[in-house]
Amino acid sequence: MEPEKIHVIWLSGQACTGCTVSFLNATHPSLVDILTGFIPQAAGITLDYHQTIMLPWGEEALKAVEAAERGELEPFVLVVEGAVPDEDKAGEGYWCAIGEENGRPITFSERLKKLADKAIAVVAAGTCSSFGGIPHGKPNPTGARGVMDFLGRDWRSKAGIPIINVPGCPVHGEHLAEVLAHAVLALRGYLSLPELDEWHRPKYIFGQTVHDNCPRAGLYSDGKTSHAFGEPYCMGLLGCKGPISHCDAPKRGFIEGVGGCTAIGGICIGCTEPEFPDEPYGPFLKKAPATFFIAEKIRGIIAGLDAVWHRFEEKLVGRKL
């Protein structure tokens, strides 16, 4: 049985294309896996417009965007890379244009609005399209913001689906590949849509902090902290924002298991967070607020007491398992 097609349109605004490059880092599944669809339940995905990855030769690519805008490309998922500038602040000019019509530039925001109206789901790839990212850093000269703030927090697609944010600067290639694959299975009724946190991030990826996922967290609990770059211990004293950031890169690695910001000895700069790159994430070399560490120590003491108590209990009443 030929599965029903699901189209994908990938639109770039105030972006650096890092999210596109990072998407190419995904391995299981990779972009090619997603497009070739090994199992029928996840097959039938077509990337109808992406200015870098897909290379449709000829007139097809732009036709797809225009068809999608007219509602003639059904159903399609809109993936957005890059922040949305406020064109009202551009006076007689423009901040970001994609193509033109009758000698007038068509702004990215205009295209985004039209496409979002017709999309079955909108996925924000990376921190810029999720929350505004670097372009919205103070003083935000172009009025940049994420898609969620551009369309409205309560915005729902015509299928009733809220915007799914997959932040990261850039987005982790595997995060995006998994969310897209998940969305396809959800649209076909095999899975429910991923549960989202208050910032519309899938909880199964962003539910824990970088610190929770850091291979050096145990060393921290053991009282081992790096005082110079290059040392193999917790990076908390050197500016790591792991305790207040949500991501699994230290555990998962970045490309095929290799890398992971804090795992290799770097610091987390909070690139998945709505405030990034401003306070409390920047200045990046400034220490994260101490409250987290104090709270964690208290929890650690409680966990320690718990462990001791259970051993006593075992001696007193015997092992239950």
């Binding site: 105030q14 650096c16 294309t17 890092g18 999210c19 596109t20 490059v21 990072s22 190419l24 880092n25 200015q51 870098t52 897909m54 290379l55 449709p56 030769w57 007139e59 097809e60 690519a61 732009l62 922040a83 006076g91 007689e92 000019g93 423009y94 901040w95 970001c96 244009a97 994609i98 193509g99 033109e100 000698g103 670097i134 372009p135 850093g137 003083p139 000269p141 172009t142 940049a144 600067c169 770059f229 290059g230 040392e231 193999p232 690695g253 490309i255 290799v258 890398g259 992971g260 910001c261 795992a263 290799i264 000895g265 610091i267 700069i269 690139c271 790159p277 920047g282 200045p283 990046f284």
Partner: protein
């Protein structure tokens, strides 16, 4: 004169979005005018104001997700200088490894995925059908090395999504980014570059892992360079000499520092610059006129006459740290004051890019401000000419890649490469230089890796050195991104950024004209380019596209074709 206008917009680039407007003279069979315009603005220099200088190392990488690491290198060198925080030698080498890893990915991406498809079966059959007939009969001289019997076979391997070279290059590219992730935590946007060295815990197996991945690149280079030579020689033989040709006016800042020479002190910059594995230099009209990084820095100007910015008062910094007077248009004095303006106002301001020029302030030639071209061809040209490194012969760059036995690649034995300075700088030679830069980078990384192992053996494995931030300072970081000379300038007051300026290679190349006789390199290269496609019907602008791509603008572009004022057709080319 029968004129046709070609408008290529959006020709999306990495740092933003790019458009090209070109005018063809059908009687002469050439393009006679061109405008290059950048249609996106984010305001990095404004966002950086008031932040800690070190933050720029992370933030400026986000200017470009395709070439982030050179931004980190340029930024950290500027901050090292402002903070007076020189890294230990191993810190310098690890930065080089991060930089090199990215170049290995980016060169392959440029040649095989972004530029290559312009010469693929799909493109050539469509736009140069006469080439295709010849390509089918043309034997590939290096067939023994790469396995493609004819030029047509190479062209077929470059077809997007299905061609063998296109698909293989995706894997090779990912391997380059994986090498960067090994030492940088992730790529794009590495996290481990910090003032005074790197934030990397060097484990006993890191260098070994890096070497194992580098071996793939060494093996791939031995097929990739012969393939590119065969393809490009064929294209040249069809009369492509004039395509994209411009005067030999080049700029290289040099790259891959000598770990023992780099001190982060401005006054020492000329001496560490000369010890780089890739040499710095300014070339005007085919003459290498200076290699002094201080002289090169002081000569940089950025004009905004045709760009959407307002002028600034100045200069606010009168002298560089060595006491040379600084012009008001020098980046240390520039202020970024955006003022959005009308679309395509060719006689006025029409681009978000500025117009960088290099002023011959020591009057070695004529004392004028020149539009210099940045890119791998500039790096290779200067390094081959200057004789600063043993591989430089004065007319070529000669080096040998080591033996590498890696499954899936054809050549195991060591192989000698020689990149000869070409007579002209044109579309084909820009692409060729990019391919050879891939091989040269693999060569430099291999040798520096051996050096790093010796340093580990000697107990010099320290990657970072503590520093004490001064209150005020200034710095410049000059290095090479894949697409050319990249520099960052910082002025620090009260430990905060008072001014931060970036001039990217795409800035040098894509900038708008200052007058009708002073065009930016993109515009200049298009003017005089012959039209090779059939001119009876609609023009696709393929020769313009190939020329612009030879500068490596990286992304797909969309060609809107105009005849007079009427849009007749839109073709996305990738």
């Amino acid at each position: 004169m029968v004129k046709k206008e070609v408008l290529i917009e959006p020709m999306t680039r990495l740092e933003g979005h790019l458009g090209i407007h070109a005018v063809a003279d059908l009687e002469k069979g050439i393009y006679v005018d061109a405008h290059s315009f950048v249609v996106m603005f984010r305001g990095f220099e404004i966002i950086l104001k008031g932040r800690e200088p070190a933050d720029a190392i992370w933030i400026t990488q986000r200017i470009c997700g395709v070439c982030p690491t050179p931004h980190a290198i340029a930024s950290v060198q500027a901050v090292d200088m402002a903070y007076q925080a020189p890294p230990p030698p191993m810190g310098v080498l690890l930065r080089n490894f991060l930089h090199g890893a990215e170049q290995l990915y980016d060169a392959a991406l440029g040649c095989l995925v972004l530029e290559g498809p312009d010469y693929s079966e799909a493109a050539v059959k469509k736009w140069n059908p006469d080439w295709w007939e010849k390509a089918r009969k043309a034997k590939a001289p290096n067939a023994k090395l790469h396995g493609y019997k004819t030029i047509a076979d190479i062209m077929r391997a470059l077809n997007p999504l299905s061609g063998e070279l296109w698909l293989r290059s995706l894997a090779v590219e990912k391997l380059g980014r994986k090498m960067a992730s090994l030492l940088g935590g992730k790529h794009p946007h590495v996290v481990s570059i910090v003032p005074g060295g790197v934030a990397k815990t060097l484990t006993p197996t890191d260098l070994e892992q890096y070497a194992a991945m580098l071996a793939h690149h060494v093996a791939f280079a031995k097929e990739f360079i012969p393939v590119m030579d065969d393809l490009l020689d064929f294209v040249l033989s069809l009369g492509y000499e004039e395509c994209g040709s411009r005067k030999v006016n080049l700029l290289s800042y040099g790259a891959y520092d000598d770990p023992e020479a780099y001190t982060a002190r401005y006054e020492d910059m000329p001496s560490w610059g000369l010890k780089r594995a890739v040499s710095p230099g300014v070339v005007i009209d085919g003459e290498l006129i200076t290699q002094d990084l201080i002289e090169i820095n002081v000569g940089v100007r950025e004009f905004i006459d045709r760009s959407y910015y307002e002028d600034w008062a100045g200069p606010s910094v009168a002298e560089d740290p060595a006491g040379n007077p600084l012009d008001a248009k020098h980046p240390w004095n520039k202020e970024t004051k955006p003022k959005p303006g009308p679309y395509k106002a060719w006689d006025s301001k029409y681009s978000w890019a500025g117009s960088p020029r290099w002023e011959d302030w020591k009057k070695r030639v004529d004392g004028f401000a020149h539009a210099l071209e940045a890119g791998p061809i500039a790096r290779m040209w200067v390094t081959a000419k200057a004789g600063n490194v043993p591989e430089s012969t004065g007319s070529s760059l000669k080096f040998t890649l080591p033996k590498a036995a890696v499954a899936g690649y054809k050549v195991v034995d060591e192989m000698e490469f020689e990149w000869k300075i070409p007579e002209r700088v044109n579309t084909v030679e820009r692409v060729r230089a990019r391919a050879y830069y891939y091989a040269y980078t693999a060569y430099v990384m291999y040798n520096q890796l051996l050096q790093a192992l010796e340093m580990v053996k000697a107990g010099k494995a320290e990657v970072w050195r503590k520093y004490k931030k001064p209150k005020d300072g200034m710095g410049v970081g000059m290095t090479e991104a894949m697409r050319g000379a990249l520099a960052h300038w910082v002025v620090m007051r009260g430990q905060r950024i008072q001014n931060y300026q970036v001039i990217t290679p795409s800035g040098w190349n894509a900038g708008p004209r200052l007058s009708d006789v002073d065009l930016g390199p993109y515009e200049d290269a298009i003017v005089g380019t012959p039209i090779t496609e059939p001119t009876e019907g609609e023009l696709s602008g393929i020769d313009v596209v190939r020329t612009i791509r030879s500068f490596d603008p990286c992304l797909a572009c969309c060609v809107h074709l105009y005849q007079g004022d009427r849009c007749i057709r839109e073709i996305p080319i990738c």
